[in-house]
């Protein structure tokens, strides 16, 4: 397998929703070997953080991977400031264990908000393995939804749920699960990716309904190779490293509350950093 040393150039940049942008990035080493469920760690520029981003799609022939990123802090703001043709300093991967694709009959793939992007390759993989894939796209409101066509192509059926009823059915991801169970009877597997509260409540619902559920976690990481342990979560009472043991875990075993608290650790620093970034940007110097 050929080894590339090319720069990680942005081939395509497209806004999908407010503050949500798709980046197709030249990363042929990653594109050739990535599997569903894996992620990359990027560092936008010198002095930047290392942040994990799930690979939403890949084209090995073109040597590109697709990342969908919500602008929330300094690193994602730095990325959002890049244009097509610009280079991302570092892209390392694919990282994490791939999704364990079993031979299943009916799989429900739930993507909540930005979580639609990481659930996309998993839907693709289950469909390729012959499962009937029902995808559920959830968001607060219609504007925040994206990948409608991509998810339709990766699924046998797509349902849309919005909190405010502005598109599809009014309701939450948990409502979608109950609706689908009522309709189909048996569901072999639920895959739920999205904000931590969504994954938590979907997992609580499916536990009650006795449906195996995988969630994909996106905690703070540094190296992404098992070296630092910053991404540890409690699963089934034991500490696990999301970067090498995950990112997918049994949703019924994950301590979501602990994860939420760990995610908030740098809240003040993140605000300070973003303020610093904007101050530098307005002065026209690199933050």
């Amino acid at each position: 397998m050929q080894i590339f040393k090319d720069a990680h150039r942005i081939l395509e940049r497209r806004d999908l929703a407010p503050k949500v942008t798709l980046y197709r990035v030249h990363a042929p080493n990653v594109a050739a070997s990535r599997k569903a469920g894996q992620f990359v760690i990027i560092r936008v520029a010198e002095g930047g953080e290392r942040i994990p981003l799930t690979i939403a799609d890949a084209d090995p022939a073109q040597g590109s991977i697709t990342l969908v990123v919500q602008e929330v802090g300094t690193s994602t703001a730095r990325l959002a400031a890049l244009k097509e043709g610009d280079v991302i300093a570092d892209v390392a991967g694919p990282l994490g264990s791939p999704t364990h694709i079993e031979n299943l009959t009916t799989v429900v793939c739930v993507g909540g908000g930005i979580g639609i992007a990481p659930v996309h390759p998993i839907a693709q993989a289950y469909k390729a393995a012959g499962a009937r894939v029902i995808s559920v796209l959830c968001a607060r409101t219609s504007d925040l939804l994206f990948f409608r066509d991509e998810m339709a192509a990766a699924s046998d059926e797509v349902r849309v749920y919005t909190d405010d009823g502005s598109e599809g059915k009014k309701g939450l991801a948990t409502d979608a699960i109950r609706d689908l169970v009522a309709e189909y009877g048996t569901i072999d597997q639920v895959v739920a990716i999205g904000p931590v509260p969504m994954m938590k409540f979907v997992s609580l619902t499916t536990k009650e309904l006795n449906i195996p559920t995988a969630v994909s976690l996106n905690p703070v990481m540094v190296d992404g190779t098992g070296m630092c342990g910053g991404c540890r979560v409690t699963v089934g009472g034991h500490a696990r490293f999301v970067c090498v043991d995950g990112p997918e875990f049994d949703g019924h075993e994950v301590d979501f509350d602990e994860m939420t608290r760990r995610q908030a650790l740098y809240k003040e620093e993140e605000a300070e950093s973003l303020q610093h970034f904007h101050a530098c940007a307005s002065e026209g110097v690199r933050a």
Binding site: M1, I3, K5, N29, V30, S33, Q38, R43, G47, G48, E49, R50, T74, S75, R78, A89, D90, V91, A92, G93, P94, L95, V222, D223, T225, G226, M227, C228, G229, G230, R232, V233, T234, A239, V244, E258, R261, R262, A264, L265, Y266, E269, E270, E272, S273, H276, F277, A287
Partner: protein, 481 residues
């Protein structure tokens, strides 16, 4: 060699040599340096270097060479220093070591070359020759001159070797293989080469510019370094074997141990790897000018007694902590850290709490650590490693306040290569490799450093890298496995 030769060789001024005091390393003042990230040890002055080199007594059978894991011709380079021929001294160092400026700083010389130096023996001794300080002096002098001569490289062999990991083992292995004329490509998972030299050892102990200069030297020899390439995942070892004639795995001990006690996942509890990586590699000491933050605790507890624990404790001081407490379950005598590091940490104000072991961490409603509950320990019977085992003292629970905790109790081998390489024999996660050669159970694949030894030292990893390079040369030449 005969006794007569030794006498002939022996300098006439032995008495004076023995009477010369060991030169102290000039250091930044402890109170100042505990608040900055600049290098602590400033390096000898030229007069000191000459005086120190003069302390060598020209043994016929110098033990120091065998005390060095990479077999540096120590008397040879020391005598060049004594004669004022620093370029000559540098050339001798370069024959055996790729990283003299690094090793002069971080090698545990007191357990190696200096431990067996004959000058250090006897009642009246003023201590062994300060070999490490001299090595550093020569390497720093050479770097300051700029344009160190590139080593002679053999004609291209047409063979290629992939090196997994750019830490000390991989760099040393790469240097010897490049010198032998092979095409060498180093694959590094992180965005910057150097491994533990850049993510782990702090700037104040090993300036990163020095590591960068040593790596540039390697690149001038034609070694290619590809960063952001995670062997095992980006490409497997088997896939690399399709492109390369041989592979050396020096992936390091990159999997931190935790104690598996309650509260370890509270916010503000770090592995030493994470804490040091944030501070050193990601530059969190200069937040928000660098984007990566680290919790800047006012009361920091560091758990462990090794060099890594000392590094973490001293970083915490420099990040502005009011109190840094090092908690170690055995007594000071058993601490695995270098004497010099312990001494520096003490001088800077780290509080040493010995014979104490964490029981659990306490946190607030936001899930952030607020304290560590500990038990007193006492030393019991010697364990398998000869060190007396710490035993809990019942009912001795007590509490220290802490808003940051760094767990520095060691590392296991990184699992990425072992997990993804079928047929690669491991023992408790460590790759099984033959002692002298680094040969693994997979043909063409060699391994060395912490991925084989478990967490050890920079110089041992370099030694393993060099041993493997010799074996790889032989394998590439003969094809015999």
């Amino acid at each position: 060699m005969s006794e007569k030769t030794e006498k002939e060789r022996a300098p006439k001024d032995l008495k004076q040599r023995y009477a010369t005091v060991r030169q102290e390393m000039p250091c930044q003042d402890p109170s100042a340096r505990a608040r900055n990230f600049q290098e602590v040890a400033l390096g000898l002055e030229i007069e000191q270097a000459l005086a120190e080199a003069y302390r060598c007594i020209y043994c016929t059978k110098p033990d120091c060479i065998s005390g060095c894991p990479v077999g540096i011709d120590i008397p040879g380079f020391v005598h060049k220093v004594e004669a004022g021929d620093l370029a000559g001294a540098a050339a001798i160092l370069r024959e055996s070591t790729l990283l003299p400026a690094v090793c002069g700083r971080v090698c545990p010389q007191e357990e190696q070359c200096e431990a067996v130096c004959k000058v250090g023996r006897g009642k009246a001794t003023k201590g062994p020759v300060a070999i490490g300080r001299l090595e550093r002096y020569v390497a720093d002098w050479e770097r300051a001159q700029g344009n160190a001569p590139a080593p002679v490289i053999a004609d291209p062999t047409g063979k290629s070797v992939a090196i997994v990991g750019s830490g000390p083992a991989g760099l040393a292995c790469a240097a010897d293989l490049a010198r032998a004329g092979h095409k060498v490509v180093i694959f590094e998972a992180l965005h910057k080469p150097g491994g533990v030299l850049v993510y782990g050892i702090p700037e104040f102990r090993l300036p990163k510019a020095i590591v960068a200069a040593e790596i540039e030297g390697l690149q001038r020899m034609g070694v290619e370094i590809i960063c952001n390439f995670v062997v095992g995942l980006t490409r497997t070892v088997d896939e690399l074997l399709e492109e390369f004639d041989s592979i050396f795995v020096g992936a390091g001990a990159g999997l931190p141990y935790f104690m598996d006690i309650p509260g370890e996942n509270l916010g503000g509890v770090y592995s030493a790897n994470e804490y040091l990586t944030r501070v050193n590699l990601m530059g969190a000491y200069d937040f928000p000018n660098n984007d990566t933050p680290v919790v800047r605790g006012k009361r920091v507890a560091v758990v462990g007694g090794g060099n890594v624990a000392m590094d973490a404790a001293r970083c915490a001081l420099r990040l502005g902590a009011d109190e840094v407490r090092l908690i170690y379950r055995r007594s000071a005598d058993e601490m695995p850290a270098r004497a010099e590091e312990i001494h520096h940490a003490e001088e800077e104000g780290v509080v040493f709490t010995m014979l104490t072991n964490p029981l659990r961490y306490l946190g607030d409603e936001r899930g952030r650590v607020t304290g560590v509950e500990c038990l007193k320990m006492e030393l019991g019977e010697p364990g398998p490693d000869g060190r007396r085992k710490p035993v809990e003292v019942p009912g001795s629970e007590h509490l220290y306040a802490a808003d940051t905790v760094v767990v520095a109790i060691g590392n296991g081998p990184n699992p990425l290569v072992p997990r993804t390489t079928p047929g690669l024999e491991t023992n408790r996660g460590k790759i099984v490799a033959q002692g002298e050669t680094g040969k693994t159970s997979v043909k063409g694949v060699f391994a060395g450093g912490d991925i084989v030894l478990g967490a050890a030292t920079v110089i041992l990893a370099m030694g393993a890298g060099r041993d493997a390079a010799r074996a790889i040369n032989e394998y590439l030449e003969t094809g015999n496995w």
